[in-house]
Protein backbone atom coordinates (compact mmCIF):
# COMPACT_ATOMS: atom_id res chain seq x y z
CA UNK A 1 0.00 0.00 0.00
CA UNK A 2 1.33 3.40 -0.97
CA UNK A 3 2.00 5.70 1.98
CA UNK A 4 -0.45 8.37 0.80
CA UNK A 5 -3.20 5.77 0.54
CA UNK A 6 -2.27 4.52 4.03
CA UNK A 7 -2.71 8.06 5.36
CA UNK A 8 -6.04 8.42 3.59
CA UNK A 9 -7.17 5.13 5.11
CA UNK A 10 -6.60 6.51 8.60
CA UNK A 11 -8.82 9.49 7.83
CA UNK A 12 -11.77 7.35 6.72
CA UNK A 13 -14.32 6.15 9.26
CA UNK A 14 -15.15 2.42 9.30
CA UNK A 15 -18.43 1.61 7.55
CA UNK A 16 -18.75 5.10 6.09
CA UNK A 17 -19.96 6.08 2.63
CA UNK A 18 -17.03 6.95 0.41
CA UNK A 19 -16.81 8.38 -3.11
CA UNK A 20 -13.44 8.18 -4.86
CA UNK A 21 -13.50 10.74 -7.65
CA UNK A 22 -11.08 9.55 -10.33
CA UNK A 23 -10.63 6.18 -8.65
CA UNK A 24 -8.15 4.73 -11.17
CA UNK A 25 -7.91 0.94 -10.98
CA UNK A 26 -9.88 0.87 -7.73
CA UNK A 27 -6.93 -0.11 -5.49
CA UNK A 28 -7.75 2.45 -2.78
CA UNK A 29 -11.45 1.60 -2.70
CA UNK A 30 -10.73 -2.11 -2.60
CA UNK A 31 -8.36 -1.51 0.32
CA UNK A 32 -10.96 0.64 2.11
CA UNK A 33 -13.65 -1.97 1.48
CA UNK A 34 -11.51 -4.73 2.93
CA UNK A 35 -9.93 -2.82 5.82
CA UNK A 36 -12.63 -0.33 6.74
CA UNK A 37 -15.78 -2.00 5.42
CA UNK A 38 -16.69 1.24 3.66
CA UNK A 39 -19.57 1.39 1.22
CA UNK A 40 -17.81 2.96 -1.68
CA UNK A 41 -18.14 4.05 -5.27
CA UNK A 42 -15.52 5.22 -7.70
CA UNK A 43 -15.97 7.64 -10.57
CA UNK A 44 -13.69 6.97 -13.52
CA UNK A 45 -13.49 7.71 -17.21
CA UNK A 46 -10.61 5.50 -18.37
CA UNK A 47 -11.93 2.30 -19.95
CA UNK A 48 -9.16 -0.04 -18.76
CA UNK A 49 -9.42 1.32 -15.23
CA UNK A 50 -13.18 0.75 -15.26
CA UNK A 51 -12.72 -2.89 -16.29
CA UNK A 52 -10.08 -3.29 -13.53
CA UNK A 53 -12.53 -1.96 -10.93
CA UNK A 54 -15.28 -4.32 -12.12
CA UNK A 55 -12.83 -7.25 -11.94
CA UNK A 56 -11.95 -6.27 -8.38
CA UNK A 57 -15.56 -6.01 -7.32
CA UNK A 58 -15.22 -2.27 -6.76
CA UNK A 59 -18.32 -0.24 -7.63
CA UNK A 60 -17.30 2.03 -10.46
CA UNK A 61 -19.40 4.54 -12.35
CA UNK A 62 -18.26 5.77 -15.74
CA UNK A 63 -18.39 9.53 -15.53
CA UNK A 64 -16.63 12.58 -16.88
CA UNK A 65 -16.00 14.52 -13.70
CA UNK A 66 -15.56 17.74 -15.67
CA UNK A 67 -19.10 17.38 -17.04
CA UNK A 68 -20.35 17.90 -13.51
CA UNK A 69 -21.44 15.97 -10.45
CA UNK A 70 -24.86 17.61 -10.32
CA UNK A 71 -26.71 14.27 -10.32
CA UNK A 72 -25.25 13.53 -6.88
CA UNK A 73 -27.24 15.02 -4.03
CA UNK A 74 -25.81 17.22 -1.26
CA UNK A 75 -24.04 15.39 1.57
CA UNK A 76 -24.51 12.00 -0.10
CA UNK A 77 -21.15 10.78 1.18
CA UNK A 78 -19.25 10.86 4.45
CA UNK A 79 -15.94 11.25 2.66
CA UNK A 80 -15.15 12.24 -0.90
CA UNK A 81 -11.63 11.45 -2.06
CA UNK A 82 -9.73 12.88 -5.02
CA UNK A 83 -6.16 11.69 -5.42
CA UNK A 84 -3.79 13.30 -7.91
CA UNK A 85 -6.51 14.61 -10.19
CA UNK A 86 -7.16 18.17 -9.01
CA UNK A 87 -4.32 19.56 -11.11
CA UNK A 88 -5.86 18.02 -14.25
CA UNK A 89 -9.21 19.78 -13.82
CA UNK A 90 -10.24 22.84 -15.82
CA UNK A 91 -11.60 24.57 -12.73
CA UNK A 92 -10.06 23.02 -9.60
CA UNK A 93 -11.80 25.62 -7.42
CA UNK A 94 -15.24 24.59 -8.70
CA UNK A 95 -14.40 20.91 -8.33
CA UNK A 96 -13.36 21.43 -4.70
CA UNK A 97 -16.66 23.23 -4.08
CA UNK A 98 -18.55 20.32 -5.68
CA UNK A 99 -16.65 17.72 -3.66
CA UNK A 100 -17.55 19.58 -0.48
CA UNK A 101 -21.18 19.83 -1.56
CA UNK A 102 -21.63 16.08 -2.08
CA UNK A 103 -19.41 14.99 0.82
CA UNK A 104 -19.33 15.94 4.47
CA UNK A 105 -15.58 16.00 4.23
CA UNK A 106 -12.97 15.60 1.51
CA UNK A 107 -9.51 14.21 1.15
CA UNK A 108 -7.56 15.81 -1.67
CA UNK A 109 -4.04 15.00 -2.81
CA UNK A 110 -2.02 16.83 -5.46
CA UNK A 111 1.61 17.33 -6.49
CA UNK A 112 3.24 20.35 -4.89
CA UNK A 113 4.62 22.68 -7.52
CA UNK A 114 6.41 24.60 -4.75
CA UNK A 115 8.79 21.70 -4.23
CA UNK A 116 12.46 22.76 -4.45
CA UNK A 117 13.10 20.58 -7.49
CA UNK A 118 10.28 22.21 -9.46
CA UNK A 119 11.44 25.64 -8.33
CA UNK A 120 15.02 24.80 -9.26
CA UNK A 121 14.09 23.41 -12.68
CA UNK A 122 12.24 26.55 -13.63
CA UNK A 123 14.75 28.93 -12.01
CA UNK A 124 17.88 27.38 -13.43
CA UNK A 125 16.79 25.86 -16.74
CA UNK A 126 14.03 28.36 -17.43
CA UNK A 127 11.78 25.52 -18.56
CA UNK A 128 8.64 23.89 -17.19
CA UNK A 129 9.72 21.09 -14.86
CA UNK A 130 9.77 17.55 -16.19
CA UNK A 131 10.55 14.71 -13.81
CA UNK A 132 10.07 11.01 -13.38
CA UNK A 133 7.05 11.79 -11.23
CA UNK A 134 5.62 14.38 -13.64
CA UNK A 135 6.99 13.17 -16.97
CA UNK A 136 4.94 15.38 -19.30
CA UNK A 137 6.04 18.40 -21.28
CA UNK A 138 3.99 21.59 -21.14
CA UNK A 139 2.06 20.95 -24.34
CA UNK A 140 0.88 17.40 -23.67
CA UNK A 141 0.46 17.36 -19.93
CA UNK A 142 -2.96 16.50 -18.51
CA UNK A 143 -1.90 18.56 -15.49
CA UNK A 144 -3.07 22.02 -16.42
CA UNK A 145 -3.50 23.71 -13.04
CA UNK A 146 -0.49 23.20 -10.86
CA UNK A 147 -0.46 24.80 -7.47
CA UNK A 148 1.66 24.85 -4.36
CA UNK A 149 0.60 24.14 -0.79
CA UNK A 150 0.43 27.88 -0.19
CA UNK A 151 -1.80 28.40 -3.22
CA UNK A 152 -4.17 25.67 -2.10
CA UNK A 153 -4.37 26.98 1.44
CA UNK A 154 -5.08 30.46 0.14
CA UNK A 155 -7.98 29.03 -1.87
CA UNK A 156 -9.26 27.38 1.31
CA UNK A 157 -9.15 30.69 3.17
CA UNK A 158 -10.93 32.55 0.37
CA UNK A 159 -13.69 29.93 0.16
CA UNK A 160 -14.14 29.40 3.89
CA UNK A 161 -12.90 25.83 3.67
CA UNK A 162 -11.64 24.41 6.95
CA UNK A 163 -8.46 22.34 6.83
CA UNK A 164 -8.94 19.50 9.31
CA UNK A 165 -5.60 17.83 8.70
CA UNK A 166 -2.76 17.96 6.22
CA UNK A 167 0.43 16.13 5.58
CA UNK A 168 3.08 15.72 2.94
CA UNK A 169 5.01 12.82 1.49
CA UNK A 170 7.79 12.51 -1.05
CA UNK A 171 7.20 11.29 -4.58
CA UNK A 172 7.61 7.67 -3.48
CA UNK A 173 4.74 8.41 -1.10
CA UNK A 174 7.05 8.04 1.90
CA UNK A 175 6.95 10.04 5.07
CA UNK A 176 10.22 11.85 5.78
CA UNK A 177 10.59 13.73 9.04
CA UNK A 178 12.52 16.53 7.39
CA UNK A 179 9.74 17.24 4.91
CA UNK A 180 7.71 18.68 7.75
CA UNK A 181 10.38 21.29 8.49
CA UNK A 182 9.47 23.16 5.31
CA UNK A 183 6.59 21.37 3.59
CA UNK A 184 6.05 23.77 0.71
CA UNK A 185 9.73 23.45 -0.24
CA UNK A 186 10.39 19.81 0.62
CA UNK A 187 7.07 17.98 0.22
CA UNK A 188 6.25 16.57 -3.19
CA UNK A 189 2.67 15.37 -2.60
CA UNK A 190 0.17 17.23 -0.47
CA UNK A 191 -2.62 15.41 1.33
CA UNK A 192 -5.39 17.59 2.74
CA UNK A 193 -8.45 16.70 4.75
CA UNK A 194 -10.96 19.50 4.38
CA UNK A 195 -14.53 20.32 5.29
CA UNK A 196 -16.95 23.23 5.43
Amino acid sequence: MRADLEIIKNWVEPGSRVLDVGCGDGALLQHLQQQKKVRGYGLEIDHDNITCCIEKGVNVIEKDIEAGLTSIKNDSFDTVIMTQALQAMHRPDQIVEELLRIGKECIVTFPNFGHWRARGYLAIRGKMPVSKFLPYTWYNTPNIHFCTFKDFEQLCVERNIYIMERTVVDNEHRHRWWIHLWPNMLGEIAIYRITR
Binding site: R17, R39, Y41, H47, I50, T51, C53, I54, E55, G57, V58, N59, V60, I61, E62, K63, S71, I72, K73, S76
Partner: protein, 389 residues
Protein backbone atom coordinates in the same frame (compact mmCIF):
# COMPACT_ATOMS: atom_id res chain seq x y z
CA UNK B 1 -26.70 -23.57 -42.05
CA UNK B 2 -23.49 -23.09 -40.09
CA UNK B 3 -20.89 -25.18 -41.95
CA UNK B 4 -19.60 -26.49 -38.65
CA UNK B 5 -21.17 -25.50 -35.35
CA UNK B 6 -18.59 -23.18 -33.73
CA UNK B 7 -16.72 -24.45 -30.68
CA UNK B 8 -17.91 -21.60 -28.51
CA UNK B 9 -21.55 -22.37 -29.31
CA UNK B 10 -23.87 -24.22 -26.96
CA UNK B 11 -24.56 -26.40 -30.02
CA UNK B 12 -27.89 -27.96 -30.94
CA UNK B 13 -30.51 -27.09 -28.34
CA UNK B 14 -34.07 -28.14 -27.71
CA UNK B 15 -36.85 -26.10 -26.22
CA UNK B 16 -39.17 -27.58 -23.60
CA UNK B 17 -42.64 -26.55 -22.54
CA UNK B 18 -43.66 -26.39 -18.89
CA UNK B 19 -47.30 -26.38 -17.78
CA UNK B 20 -48.43 -24.37 -14.77
CA UNK B 21 -51.81 -24.83 -13.14
CA UNK B 22 -51.53 -22.53 -10.12
CA UNK B 23 -53.61 -19.46 -11.04
CA UNK B 24 -51.52 -16.36 -11.78
CA UNK B 25 -53.08 -13.07 -10.75
CA UNK B 26 -52.28 -10.26 -13.13
CA UNK B 27 -51.94 -6.51 -12.69
CA UNK B 28 -54.94 -5.94 -14.96
CA UNK B 29 -57.13 -7.76 -12.44
CA UNK B 30 -57.58 -10.89 -14.50
CA UNK B 31 -56.29 -14.35 -13.62
CA UNK B 32 -54.54 -16.91 -15.82
CA UNK B 33 -55.78 -20.18 -14.36
CA UNK B 34 -53.40 -22.28 -16.37
CA UNK B 35 -50.60 -21.35 -18.71
CA UNK B 36 -47.44 -22.76 -20.21
CA UNK B 37 -43.97 -21.38 -20.72
CA UNK B 38 -41.55 -22.50 -23.40
CA UNK B 39 -37.94 -22.40 -22.27
CA UNK B 40 -34.42 -23.36 -23.27
CA UNK B 41 -31.54 -24.08 -20.91
CA UNK B 42 -27.80 -24.25 -21.52
CA UNK B 43 -25.07 -25.61 -19.24
CA UNK B 44 -25.53 -27.67 -16.10
CA UNK B 45 -27.32 -26.68 -12.92
CA UNK B 46 -24.97 -27.33 -9.98
CA UNK B 47 -25.88 -29.41 -6.93
CA UNK B 48 -27.41 -26.60 -4.88
CA UNK B 49 -28.84 -24.74 -7.87
CA UNK B 50 -26.70 -21.67 -7.19
CA UNK B 51 -25.21 -21.12 -10.66
CA UNK B 52 -28.39 -20.26 -12.57
CA UNK B 53 -28.72 -17.20 -14.80
CA UNK B 54 -32.05 -15.96 -16.08
CA UNK B 55 -32.08 -14.18 -19.44
CA UNK B 56 -35.06 -11.86 -19.97
CA UNK B 57 -35.94 -11.02 -23.55
CA UNK B 58 -36.84 -7.74 -25.19
CA UNK B 59 -39.77 -6.75 -27.43
CA UNK B 60 -39.31 -9.32 -30.18
CA UNK B 61 -37.12 -11.86 -28.40
CA UNK B 62 -37.95 -15.34 -27.21
CA UNK B 63 -36.67 -18.44 -25.44
CA UNK B 64 -34.17 -19.28 -28.19
CA UNK B 65 -31.30 -17.28 -26.76
CA UNK B 66 -28.28 -19.28 -27.92
CA UNK B 67 -27.25 -22.23 -30.07
CA UNK B 68 -29.03 -23.82 -33.01
CA UNK B 69 -32.24 -25.81 -33.28
CA UNK B 70 -30.82 -27.92 -36.08
CA UNK B 71 -27.76 -28.17 -38.25
CA UNK B 72 -29.82 -26.49 -40.99
CA UNK B 73 -30.44 -23.35 -38.91
CA UNK B 74 -29.05 -20.29 -40.66
CA UNK B 75 -28.81 -18.22 -37.50
CA UNK B 76 -28.21 -19.03 -33.83
CA UNK B 77 -30.32 -17.72 -30.93
CA UNK B 78 -30.67 -13.97 -30.49
CA UNK B 79 -27.94 -13.51 -27.87
CA UNK B 80 -25.54 -16.21 -29.03
CA UNK B 81 -22.76 -13.59 -29.08
CA UNK B 82 -22.77 -13.43 -25.27
CA UNK B 83 -23.66 -16.98 -24.28
CA UNK B 84 -21.64 -20.17 -24.75
CA UNK B 85 -18.48 -21.94 -23.61
CA UNK B 86 -15.82 -19.28 -23.00
CA UNK B 87 -18.18 -16.40 -23.78
CA UNK B 88 -19.09 -13.74 -21.18
CA UNK B 89 -22.01 -15.85 -19.92
CA UNK B 90 -19.91 -19.00 -19.85
CA UNK B 91 -22.06 -22.12 -20.09
CA UNK B 92 -19.17 -24.18 -18.67
CA UNK B 93 -19.79 -22.30 -15.42
CA UNK B 94 -23.40 -21.21 -15.46
CA UNK B 95 -26.78 -22.80 -16.02
CA UNK B 96 -28.58 -20.40 -18.34
CA UNK B 97 -32.37 -20.20 -18.65
CA UNK B 98 -34.18 -18.41 -21.46
CA UNK B 99 -37.95 -18.27 -21.80
CA UNK B 100 -40.63 -16.84 -24.01
CA UNK B 101 -42.67 -14.45 -21.89
CA UNK B 102 -46.40 -14.83 -21.38
CA UNK B 103 -48.19 -13.08 -24.22
CA UNK B 104 -45.34 -13.94 -26.57
CA UNK B 105 -45.80 -15.73 -29.86
CA UNK B 106 -43.11 -18.39 -29.83
CA UNK B 107 -44.79 -21.10 -27.80
CA UNK B 108 -45.66 -19.71 -24.37
CA UNK B 109 -49.29 -18.93 -23.54
CA UNK B 110 -50.20 -15.93 -25.62
CA UNK B 111 -52.62 -14.56 -28.22
CA UNK B 112 -51.66 -17.15 -30.87
CA UNK B 113 -52.13 -20.11 -28.48
CA UNK B 114 -55.34 -22.00 -27.80
CA UNK B 115 -57.42 -20.71 -24.91
CA UNK B 116 -58.31 -23.89 -22.93
CA UNK B 117 -61.66 -22.33 -21.99
CA UNK B 118 -62.81 -21.81 -25.58
CA UNK B 119 -60.69 -24.14 -27.67
CA UNK B 120 -59.87 -21.20 -29.95
CA UNK B 121 -56.80 -18.93 -30.09
CA UNK B 122 -56.88 -16.26 -27.38
CA UNK B 123 -56.34 -13.50 -29.93
CA UNK B 124 -57.04 -10.07 -28.46
CA UNK B 125 -58.66 -11.71 -25.40
CA UNK B 126 -55.28 -12.67 -23.98
CA UNK B 127 -54.84 -10.40 -20.94
CA UNK B 128 -52.45 -7.45 -21.21
CA UNK B 129 -49.25 -8.32 -19.40
CA UNK B 130 -47.04 -6.05 -17.34
CA UNK B 131 -43.36 -6.40 -16.47
CA UNK B 132 -44.21 -7.35 -12.84
CA UNK B 133 -46.59 -10.04 -14.19
CA UNK B 134 -43.76 -11.49 -16.24
CA UNK B 135 -41.45 -11.41 -13.25
CA UNK B 136 -44.06 -13.27 -11.18
CA UNK B 137 -44.34 -15.94 -13.87
CA UNK B 138 -40.55 -16.18 -14.07
CA UNK B 139 -40.45 -16.70 -10.28
CA UNK B 140 -42.86 -19.63 -10.73
CA UNK B 141 -40.51 -20.96 -13.39
CA UNK B 142 -37.59 -20.67 -10.93
CA UNK B 143 -39.63 -22.63 -8.36
CA UNK B 144 -40.31 -25.31 -10.95
CA UNK B 145 -36.60 -25.58 -11.82
CA UNK B 146 -35.66 -25.72 -8.12
CA UNK B 147 -33.80 -22.41 -8.28
CA UNK B 148 -34.23 -20.51 -5.03
CA UNK B 149 -31.84 -17.70 -5.97
CA UNK B 150 -30.53 -16.71 -9.39
CA UNK B 151 -26.80 -16.07 -9.60
CA UNK B 152 -27.88 -13.25 -11.91
CA UNK B 153 -30.88 -11.97 -13.81
CA UNK B 154 -29.76 -10.33 -17.05
CA UNK B 155 -31.57 -8.48 -19.80
CA UNK B 156 -31.29 -5.78 -22.44
CA UNK B 157 -33.93 -3.16 -23.29
CA UNK B 158 -37.34 -4.49 -22.14
CA UNK B 159 -35.36 -7.46 -20.76
CA UNK B 160 -33.31 -5.07 -18.61
CA UNK B 161 -36.56 -3.66 -17.23
CA UNK B 162 -37.58 -7.16 -16.13
CA UNK B 163 -34.18 -7.68 -14.48
CA UNK B 164 -34.61 -4.39 -12.58
CA UNK B 165 -38.15 -5.38 -11.55
CA UNK B 166 -36.81 -8.68 -10.21
CA UNK B 167 -34.50 -6.78 -7.86
CA UNK B 168 -37.47 -4.85 -6.44
CA UNK B 169 -40.10 -7.59 -6.30
CA UNK B 170 -37.97 -10.60 -5.30
CA UNK B 171 -34.90 -9.06 -3.63
CA UNK B 172 -33.87 -12.29 -1.93
CA UNK B 173 -34.05 -14.33 -5.12
CA UNK B 174 -31.13 -12.87 -7.09
CA UNK B 175 -27.52 -12.01 -6.26
CA UNK B 176 -26.75 -9.92 -9.33
CA UNK B 177 -28.79 -7.84 -11.73
CA UNK B 178 -27.50 -6.72 -15.11
CA UNK B 179 -29.53 -3.97 -16.76
CA UNK B 180 -28.42 -3.22 -20.32
CA UNK B 181 -29.68 -0.45 -22.66
CA UNK B 182 -32.80 0.00 -20.56
CA UNK B 183 -34.77 2.86 -18.99
CA UNK B 184 -36.60 3.29 -15.68
CA UNK B 185 -39.76 4.12 -17.65
CA UNK B 186 -40.68 5.19 -21.16
CA UNK B 187 -40.64 8.80 -22.27
CA UNK B 188 -43.56 10.41 -24.10
CA UNK B 189 -41.50 10.06 -27.29
CA UNK B 190 -41.03 6.31 -26.68
CA UNK B 191 -44.77 5.87 -26.11
CA UNK B 192 -45.51 7.93 -29.22
CA UNK B 193 -43.42 5.59 -31.40
CA UNK B 194 -45.20 2.59 -29.88
CA UNK B 195 -48.58 4.15 -30.59
CA UNK B 196 -47.74 4.69 -34.27
CA UNK B 197 -46.71 1.03 -34.47
CA UNK B 198 -49.95 -0.07 -32.81
CA UNK B 199 -52.05 2.09 -35.13
CA UNK B 200 -50.29 0.64 -38.16
CA UNK B 201 -51.27 -2.84 -36.99
CA UNK B 202 -54.81 -2.19 -35.81
CA UNK B 203 -55.75 -0.16 -38.90
CA UNK B 204 -54.62 -2.95 -41.23
CA UNK B 205 -57.82 -4.30 -42.87
CA UNK B 206 -56.56 -7.82 -42.24
CA UNK B 207 -56.33 -7.21 -38.48
CA UNK B 208 -60.06 -7.93 -37.87
CA UNK B 209 -59.87 -6.48 -34.34
CA UNK B 210 -57.27 -9.09 -33.49
CA UNK B 211 -59.39 -12.06 -34.63
CA UNK B 212 -57.40 -12.61 -37.82
CA UNK B 213 -56.60 -16.24 -36.96
CA UNK B 214 -60.20 -17.27 -37.62
CA UNK B 215 -60.14 -15.35 -40.91
CA UNK B 216 -56.95 -17.14 -41.88
CA UNK B 217 -55.34 -13.77 -42.50
CA UNK B 218 -52.41 -11.83 -41.06
CA UNK B 219 -52.14 -8.01 -40.76
CA UNK B 220 -48.87 -8.24 -42.63
CA UNK B 221 -48.70 -4.65 -43.80
CA UNK B 222 -49.39 -3.29 -40.33
CA UNK B 223 -46.75 -5.47 -38.71
CA UNK B 224 -44.29 -4.60 -41.42
CA UNK B 225 -44.81 -0.87 -40.89
CA UNK B 226 -44.55 -1.30 -37.13
CA UNK B 227 -41.25 -3.14 -37.53
CA UNK B 228 -39.87 -0.63 -40.02
CA UNK B 229 -40.62 2.19 -37.61
CA UNK B 230 -39.16 0.22 -34.72
CA UNK B 231 -36.03 -0.52 -36.71
CA UNK B 232 -35.37 3.16 -37.33
CA UNK B 233 -35.41 3.75 -33.58
CA UNK B 234 -33.03 0.85 -32.99
CA UNK B 235 -30.36 2.32 -35.25
CA UNK B 236 -28.58 5.65 -34.91
CA UNK B 237 -28.33 8.42 -37.48
CA UNK B 238 -24.57 7.80 -37.67
CA UNK B 239 -25.04 4.06 -37.90
CA UNK B 240 -27.51 4.39 -40.77
CA UNK B 241 -25.23 6.83 -42.59
CA UNK B 242 -22.35 4.41 -42.18
CA UNK B 243 -24.37 1.37 -43.24
CA UNK B 244 -26.46 2.79 -46.08
CA UNK B 245 -25.56 6.41 -46.72
CA UNK B 246 -27.55 7.46 -49.78
CA UNK B 247 -26.45 4.44 -51.78
CA UNK B 248 -28.75 3.57 -54.65
CA UNK B 249 -29.48 -0.03 -55.51
CA UNK B 250 -29.39 0.53 -59.27
CA UNK B 251 -26.91 3.38 -59.19
CA UNK B 252 -29.49 5.94 -60.36
CA UNK B 253 -32.87 7.29 -59.33
CA UNK B 254 -35.85 5.99 -61.26
CA UNK B 255 -38.56 8.61 -60.64
CA UNK B 256 -41.06 6.19 -59.15
CA UNK B 257 -41.98 4.88 -55.70
CA UNK B 258 -40.12 1.61 -55.82
CA UNK B 259 -37.36 1.24 -53.24
CA UNK B 260 -34.24 2.83 -54.70
CA UNK B 261 -32.16 3.80 -51.71
CA UNK B 262 -30.45 0.94 -49.92
CA UNK B 263 -32.02 1.99 -46.63
CA UNK B 264 -35.50 1.61 -48.16
CA UNK B 265 -34.93 -1.93 -49.31
CA UNK B 266 -33.26 -2.82 -46.01
CA UNK B 267 -36.27 -1.62 -44.02
CA UNK B 268 -38.70 -3.35 -46.37
CA UNK B 269 -36.74 -6.58 -46.09
CA UNK B 270 -36.65 -6.38 -42.28
CA UNK B 271 -40.34 -5.52 -42.10
CA UNK B 272 -41.31 -8.24 -44.54
CA UNK B 273 -39.34 -10.91 -42.69
CA UNK B 274 -40.77 -9.84 -39.33
CA UNK B 275 -44.37 -9.71 -40.58
CA UNK B 276 -44.37 -13.45 -41.23
CA UNK B 277 -42.35 -14.44 -38.14
CA UNK B 278 -44.13 -12.43 -35.45
CA UNK B 279 -47.67 -12.12 -34.16
CA UNK B 280 -49.53 -8.81 -34.38
CA UNK B 281 -51.44 -9.25 -31.10
CA UNK B 282 -48.18 -10.03 -29.32
CA UNK B 283 -46.60 -6.90 -30.78
CA UNK B 284 -49.47 -4.81 -29.41
CA UNK B 285 -49.22 -6.49 -26.01
CA UNK B 286 -45.42 -6.11 -25.76
CA UNK B 287 -45.50 -2.41 -26.63
CA UNK B 288 -48.19 -1.86 -23.98
CA UNK B 289 -46.06 -3.65 -21.38
CA UNK B 290 -43.29 -1.23 -22.28
CA UNK B 291 -45.57 1.81 -22.03
CA UNK B 292 -46.95 0.74 -18.65
CA UNK B 293 -43.55 -0.03 -17.13
CA UNK B 294 -42.96 2.26 -14.18
CA UNK B 295 -41.40 0.49 -11.18
CA UNK B 296 -41.25 3.73 -9.20
CA UNK B 297 -45.01 4.33 -9.39
CA UNK B 298 -45.96 2.20 -6.33
CA UNK B 299 -43.19 3.97 -4.36
CA UNK B 300 -44.45 7.56 -4.62
CA UNK B 301 -42.76 7.80 -8.05
CA UNK B 302 -39.40 7.74 -6.31
CA UNK B 303 -37.09 5.33 -8.15
CA UNK B 304 -34.53 5.32 -5.34
CA UNK B 305 -37.26 4.33 -2.92
CA UNK B 306 -38.37 1.51 -5.23
CA UNK B 307 -34.80 0.28 -5.58
CA UNK B 308 -34.16 0.48 -1.85
CA UNK B 309 -36.05 -2.85 -1.76
CA UNK B 310 -33.22 -4.52 -3.65
CA UNK B 311 -30.41 -6.46 -2.05
CA UNK B 312 -28.47 -7.66 -5.10
CA UNK B 313 -25.51 -6.04 -6.85
CA UNK B 314 -26.05 -4.20 -10.11
CA UNK B 315 -24.24 -3.69 -13.40
CA UNK B 316 -25.78 -1.05 -15.67
CA UNK B 317 -24.58 -0.63 -19.27
CA UNK B 318 -25.61 1.86 -21.94
CA UNK B 319 -24.48 2.69 -25.49
CA UNK B 320 -23.50 6.18 -26.63
CA UNK B 321 -25.63 6.40 -29.79
CA UNK B 322 -28.70 4.64 -28.35
CA UNK B 323 -31.48 7.21 -28.55
CA UNK B 324 -34.36 4.85 -27.88
CA UNK B 325 -33.07 4.29 -24.34
CA UNK B 326 -30.23 6.77 -24.16
CA UNK B 327 -27.30 6.68 -21.70
CA UNK B 328 -29.13 9.42 -19.80
CA UNK B 329 -31.86 6.89 -18.93
CA UNK B 330 -29.32 4.36 -17.65
CA UNK B 331 -27.71 7.11 -15.59
CA UNK B 332 -31.11 7.73 -13.97
CA UNK B 333 -31.14 4.09 -12.89
CA UNK B 334 -27.53 4.29 -11.68
CA UNK B 335 -28.09 7.53 -9.76
CA UNK B 336 -31.17 6.08 -8.06
CA UNK B 337 -29.18 2.98 -7.09
CA UNK B 338 -26.42 5.14 -5.60
CA UNK B 339 -29.02 7.17 -3.74
CA UNK B 340 -30.54 3.92 -2.45
CA UNK B 341 -27.03 2.91 -1.31
CA UNK B 342 -26.95 -0.17 -3.55
CA UNK B 343 -23.84 -1.74 -5.02
CA UNK B 344 -23.68 -0.63 -8.63
CA UNK B 345 -21.25 -0.22 -11.49
CA UNK B 346 -22.06 1.68 -14.66
CA UNK B 347 -20.38 1.73 -18.05
CA UNK B 348 -21.19 3.70 -21.18
CA UNK B 349 -19.97 1.86 -24.26
CA UNK B 350 -18.97 3.77 -27.40
CA UNK B 351 -20.74 2.33 -30.39
CA UNK B 352 -22.32 3.64 -33.59
CA UNK B 353 -25.03 0.92 -33.60
CA UNK B 354 -27.70 2.69 -31.54
CA UNK B 355 -30.05 0.61 -29.40
CA UNK B 356 -29.17 -2.55 -31.37
CA UNK B 357 -25.67 -2.39 -29.89
CA UNK B 358 -26.73 -4.44 -26.89
CA UNK B 359 -26.93 -7.52 -29.16
CA UNK B 360 -23.59 -6.89 -30.87
CA UNK B 361 -20.31 -8.27 -29.48
CA UNK B 362 -18.53 -4.90 -29.28
CA UNK B 363 -15.07 -5.63 -27.78
CA UNK B 364 -15.31 -3.25 -24.81
CA UNK B 365 -18.87 -4.34 -24.07
CA UNK B 366 -17.85 -8.01 -24.03
CA UNK B 367 -14.83 -7.17 -21.85
CA UNK B 368 -17.02 -5.45 -19.24
CA UNK B 369 -19.59 -8.23 -19.51
CA UNK B 370 -16.94 -10.91 -18.92
CA UNK B 371 -15.36 -8.97 -16.04
CA UNK B 372 -18.71 -8.63 -14.32
CA UNK B 373 -19.60 -12.29 -14.90
CA UNK B 374 -16.34 -13.19 -13.11
CA UNK B 375 -17.78 -11.41 -10.08
CA UNK B 376 -21.05 -13.26 -10.49
CA UNK B 377 -19.08 -16.51 -10.55
CA UNK B 378 -17.03 -15.45 -7.50
CA UNK B 379 -20.28 -14.93 -5.58
CA UNK B 380 -21.47 -18.50 -6.16
CA UNK B 381 -21.34 -20.05 -2.67
CA UNK B 382 -18.05 -21.93 -2.17
CA UNK B 383 -17.79 -25.63 -2.94
CA UNK B 384 -20.34 -25.52 -5.73
CA UNK B 385 -18.38 -24.06 -8.58
CA UNK B 386 -18.54 -27.30 -10.53
CA UNK B 387 -21.31 -28.03 -12.95
CA UNK B 388 -23.37 -31.20 -12.78
CA UNK B 389 -25.92 -32.35 -10.24
Amino acid sequence: MPEIIPEDSVGIVQPQTIEFDTPLELACGRVLNQYHLIIETYGELNADASNAILICHALSGNHHVAGYHSAEDKKPGWWDSAIGPGKPIDTDKFFVVGLNNLGGCHGSSGPNQINPDTGKPYGPDFPLMTVPDWVNSQARLADHLGIQQWAAVIGGSLGGMQALQWSIDYPERLRHCMVIAAAPKLSAQNIAFNEVARQAISKDPQFHDGHYYEEDQVPKVGLMLARMLGHITYLSDDGMREKFGRELREGKISFDFNPQFEVESYLRYQGERFSTAFDANTYLLMTKALDYYDPAAPYEHDLAKALSQASCKFMVISFTTDWRFSPERSREITDALVEAEKQVSYAEVDSPQGHDAFLIPIPRYMEIFAAYMNRVEADIPAGNNEGGA
